[in-house]
Symmetry: C2
Subunit: 198 residues, 2 copies
């Protein structure tokens, strides 16, 4: 994607703090957009269609998937989640950087299609910290939390296929570390263009 | 080199500011060592043996090269330059990061031997800025400056084989950018070790 915006994937197990970190990053760069995912799961309290997610019926979702309209999609815990391709491609073409908050396997799907996407894996400092965060946000049933924790070991198995791993202990440190990673990525030789005067 | 220090190569054409940048970086990290090169060229005013360079006769140099004692070596402008391997390996094994200030082709030789070495290519903002810096430091004859400028286009041709390119305009910005690159490299997934508690 030379000359285009950077596609940045913030990923990690449920409860690792992806959403909070993405929200903070968006405010700190002039040209940074958050991709909005589509899902068939019901909205949680306070979630807004088109901002939190595009909420779709299963029929609507499967139709768009059939047309190749997703960068990636997958069933997760019985619901379908996906990243509509159109808006992301338009933003990148305009030179805007795009952040995707995405589950671990979805991140790897996108990386296959866009090898230059920057994959960042967030983890909590410990397993117990993850359990506490999941329990603390009280948006899943105990049964859903149990399922998510079983899944974590599988997700950690994909960690080495990511580009970067960041331990999300203190939010400010995490955000600064990711800002540094993006600064460094802007200096990658394959993105470099000789300035005028050379 | 898992579990070891990082090997960082600061490279670029003569006059790009490698030496100044390396000097500043060394002071800013607790565990950062500057590799000392060997050369057969005569000392310049103020240069100290064992700190600026290991100054060697051509015979001494060629003997060490024949024993495989250099990470890389090459003739440059009629003199021999090289990086003695022993001290670098010892520092990396102790977990210390090592900076090499190195010419462009030497950097690529080291990268072949250590694919995980971090190669940073420094350039001035323009060709005229490079000419001014070479003329300004007054350590080379006009004939040597002319040779170095002819060589620059060849060196720029290797730029895409580097990992990062940094434009050395304002020293503080350059140093901060490189610090960011090193922070990011510390977060690379292949260097990651799961913390205790996972």
């Amino acid at each position: 994607m030379p000359g285009q915006g950077m596609l940045i994937l913030i990923s990690g197990p449920s409860g690792c703090g992806k959403g909070t970190v993405c929200g903070r990053l968006i405010g700190q760069f002039p040209v940074m957009r958050l991709s909005v995912s589509a899902t068939t799961r019901p909205p949680r309290t306070g979630e807004v269609h088109g901002r939190s997610y595009y909420f779709m019926t299963r029929e609507e979702f499967e139709k768009l998937a059939g047309e190749g309209g997703f960068l990636e999609w997958a069933p997760i815990y019985g619901n379908l989640y996906g990243t509509p391709a159109g808006p992301v491609m338009e933003m990148l073409d305009r030179g805007e950087d795009v952040i995707l908050e995405i589950d671990v396997q979805g991140g790897l799907q996108v990386k296959e299609r866009f090898p230059e996407a920057i994959l960042i894996f967030l983890i909590t400092p410990s397993r117990s910290a993850l359990e506490e965060r999941l329990a603390g946000r009280a948006t899943e049933s105990p049964e859903e939390i149990r399922k998510r924790l079983i899944w974590v070991d599988t997700e950690l198995g994909f960690l080495t296929r990511y580009d970067y791993v960041v331990i999300n202990n203190h939010l400010d440190d995490t955000v600064n570390r990711i800002k540094c990673i993006l600064e460094a990525e802007r200096s990658r030789a394959y993105r470099f263009k000789m300035p005028e005067g050379w």
